[in-house]
Symmetry: C3
Subunit: 208 residues, 3 copies
């Protein structure tokens, strides 16, 4: 039982996912011409929405942004510092970099959630869905608040489905003798790779 | 105390309501040209949204789709099998049949929720509202995700109000000597009948 | 420890905030041409949405509208009585009065929530955010259900930010020797004053 390294692993996972999520919320809220308060709250919802939904569904308290008050303060400070430079940041940060960071966030966040759901005694299929929900619901809530049909449901680009496969891969690894660290990182890497490959080759899901 | 039959009664109630709800979410998501992932998740939200909201508000865990993992797997398998045939299914299944199945689902689901709310010690008025909320919030969440004003709030067709009367009928029956099975079925039947009668005669609620 | 006066203080706070919230939900739902059921439910969501979200996030049960069934019944009865006279009421009640009542509700509701969040052991920054969330999320949920981008995020008028400053003022007062009653009322008054001043002089926040 290596408790300590695993906690710090999940901490890294969460901080990366939070900053990437906040950035996407920030951009979308600005596009909708929201004021500074709206932009901050949408960034906050995008960053913490998926994890909050997971915690509410699992009835886990304190919520992870309550337990780690430093995350919310970090986000607040970053938002205040970054706000005036957001145009310059967008010119420096290419779309490619955003997609890559987002894919890393998706993988890490989804796998962390499956891990927590299994630890909370969820059945396997539910745990896999919890991973997917956590991975995508920040963006879903962002789009609902911005009065759009959620992008992840309509753009046909494989996203949730990459998380779904990676979550099952992680669950499968629980029945092998690999270490939990390896299971976490390899599953997250698989999700990130699936996402980047499908983006690179512009793969599309069809509607039913 | 006939615990076992009542549990199976509520199980039947939930499965019917889930499949009907999922179908309506599926249709609405396709109309919005969502991809396969979006269609499945909207079907899932429509099917489980009302019950999940009830469970979160009552703080009941595990959520019923977690406790009954088989429901989520059933829905997943049905969605995968049914997706390619959805056009044919829509031609076979008349609007009349959808309205009838939905009315049955509304009655059964609302009454099951009032029963659970009373068992959880909710006050009477709150229990009645919990029945209504559960009966309609799957559809409300579906419409919010699909970026529409919820149909149930604007089409003027009696729907929530049928559930409201039936829920009070069920509460009233608690003060009589009728069996709980009779109370459940007769109240659900009353809601279904009110809904079908108001649909048949095209009754309309006015705005205030 | 003056428990009794403080409880009644918070009761007054909540009733004022509920009626003001319900009225704004009622007006917005009518503007969207909803039927009587939609109007009532949107009024209910606007009135109780912020507090319900606070209670769900803090995992506090029973929800305050469950604990105080009389609030929901009050709202129901008021809605039924007021509905036919809503046009006349709008002519009598000036916009000025609505803004003032809403500002009072914002102040009282936000401060009451910070107080509860601190009592529940939340960290300071989280408690301040909980006050803001509670103060604005009734309106946010109202606008989401009415299929609008939330007004509070886009109109540039200081609203959430007034609550934010007032919540920190209340938190600061915890470290002084003033009574809790004084802290509650003065902080609520500060929020109300900030809101009314920024409304009076038509102050605007810029987008980032």
């Amino acid at each position: 039982m290596k408790i300590v390294p695993q906690v710090s692993l999940i901490t890294i996972i969460e901080v990366v996912a939070i900053l990437v999520g906040a950035f996407s919320g920030f951009i979308e809220a600005r596009r909708k011409r929201m004021d500074i308060v709206g932009v901050f709250i949408v960034a906050f919802i995008t960053a913490f929405g998926g994890g909050t939904m997971r915690d509410v569904l699992l009835d886990k308290r304190p919520l992870f942004w309550v337990q780690h008050q430093e995350y919310t303060i970090l986000l607040f400070v970053v938002a205040i510092i970054a706000a005036p430079f957001i145009k310059q940041i967008r010119h420096i940060v290419s779309e490619r970099l955003i997609v890559i960071a987002d894919a890393v966030g998706l993988g890490l966040f989804a796998v962390a959630s499956v891990s927590q759901a299994l630890a909370a005694g969820m059945p396997l299929f539910v745990a896999a869905m919890m991973g997917v929900i956590t991975g995508i619901f920040g963006g879903v809530l962002r789009d609902i608040v911005c009065n759009e049909v959620p992008m992840v449901f309509r753009d046909g680009k494989p996203y949730a489905i990459c998380a779904f496969f990676g979550c099952w891969f992680y669950i499968g690894l629980q029945y092998t003798s690999v270490s939990d660290d390896f299971a976490l990182w390899s599953s997250a890497a698989l999700i990130t790779a699936l996402r980047l490959i499908s983006w690179k080759f512009d793969l599309k899901l069809r509607g039913p």
